[in-house]
């Protein structure tokens, strides 16, 4: 059991962006990602997951701080203005 300090980046954004965001994340060098379907409310209004409003996805990426920083920067620049987007990071111990 060797625990490795890593960063967990959690991204909440619009379902419609799933393919695009996954492409961005992988092409920036992530080793993997985990997605769950979500709904929620923020500054862009309620996204209840009904079809005409669209729902949210919650993407988690475990990686080093540099990778997470790159992803954050890219998503902020490209999507924050026009789409619902929330990102936060937490330090985690990767157990592998």
């Amino acid at each position: 059991m060797t625990a490795q300090p890593m960063t967990l980046l959690t991204i909440v954004s619009e379902t419609v962006l799933e393919d695009i965001l996954v492409d961005e994340i992988m092409s920036l060098g992530a080793k993997g990602y985990t997605i769950t379907d979500a709904r929620g409310k923020g500054t862009h209004g309620t996204r209840a997951g009904r079809w005409t409003q669209g729902g949210n996805i919650r993407i988690e990426v475990v990686g080093n701080a540099v990778l997470c920083g790159r992803i954050i920067e890219r998503l902020q620049a490209a999507y924050e203005q026009d789409y619902g987007l929330l990102m936060f990071t937490t330090p985690v111990e990767l157990q592998n």
Partner: protein, 312 residues
């Protein structure tokens, strides 16, 4: 006035939405219902298409497409200048109104069947074709403002998006298999069609309720726009249908196609291709106003118009 009981389910849905009932059609069921409707409509069209010579259809098809493509082009300056909307919003709304609504069309077909009036089965082909120029024109209209457009993604979405794919796929299967080959599927895709349309309208009512409740915030302009545009487009369709020598049923369906606004394919395509557009405006108008207007008043009016013009 011709009344089609299936719209009562829409009213039940709106009621449930307005009183904030916990009634919800699960997303996966909604998906399944819409896959069913698209496939069924496509199959029905394909079977009927087999009765026509494709060559004969080329000229009317091109005309119907060309005139249909006028709608977003004409609508855009109205939104931009009269409505003082942003370029992105105007373009996105134009695309929604140039595009078509499968459910509105289905309610029109249901009415014709109930009234026992024949129509040209190949009208369903235009349900497929009209979507395409509308979305492309919408994006082109938006483009000058927004700079960067994901054309690749858009073209993919337009041609291989599930709506077009299922409609066109059903069309081809129905065409190849023919009435005889499709027979064992009839009970699912034809006999159950109206019942499933009823369930779909229930869900449409539920989501429309949220839009209807937000009407005030859209302003008088958008509300009037969402009622006048289908009427004018419907007249366009009626006149063209009559000129092309379509039957009363076919004329009414063409009017319905022109008059209907998309709330499935267009919103998804525009959210990606024109991100600066506010989806609440376009979906609100298309689903909250135009859709109920069409199924309650529009379709009976287009029917009356088709009968009227054919009396000459």
């Amino acid at each position: 006035m011709h009344f089609e009981p299936v719209v009562l389910f829409f009213m039940l849905g709106v009621f449930a939405g307005l009183v904030r009932s916990d009634l919800k059609i699960p997303a996966s069921i909604y998906e399944a219902l819409s896959i069913f409707l698209l496939l069924a409509i496509g199959l029905q069209g394909g079977v009927k298409l087999a009765e026509f010579s494709l060559l004969e259809l080329v000229v009317p098809a091109l005309l119907i497409l060309a005139v249909g493509s006028l709608i977003p082009v004409l609508v855009f300056p109205v939104l931009r200048l009269l409505g003082r909307m942003t370029r992105a919003d105007s373009a996105s709304i134009a695309a929604h109104y140039g595009s078509v609504s499968v459910v509105t069309f289905s309610v029109g077909v249901a009415l014709l069947i109930q009234e026992d009036i024949d129509f040209e089965g190949y009208m369903i082909v235009f349900l497929v074709l009209l979507e395409i120029p509308a979305l492309v024109i919408g994006v082109m209209l938006a483009r000058f403002g927004s700079g960067h457009v994901r054309w690749g993604k858009l073209v993919h979405e337009v041609f291989f998006g599930k709506s077009i794919l299922l409609l066109a796929g059903g069309l081809v299967i129905g065409f190849i298999a023919g009435a005889e080959g499709i027979k064992p599927l009839d009970i699912l895709f034809f006999d159950l069609f109206k019942g499933i349309l009823a369930l779909f309208l229930l869900e449409m009512g539920l989501v429309a309720a949220a839009r209807i409740a937000g009407l005030r915030s859209y302003g008088l302009f958008l509300v009037s726009f969402a009622i006048i545009t289908p009427l004018l487009s419907g007249i366009l369709g009626t006149v063209l249908g009559w000129m092309l020598g379509l039957s009363v049923g076919g004329t009414m369906l063409l009017a319905t196609l022109y008059a209907s606004a998309s709330y499935i394919a267009a919103p998804a395509a525009m959210r990606i291709a024109v991100p600066k557009a506010n989806p609440a405006l376009s979906i609100g108008a298309a689903l909250g106003i135009t859709f109920p207007f069409n199924i309650f008043l529009g379709i009976p009016i287009y029917f009356w118009m088709a009968q009227f013009i054919h009396s000459f």
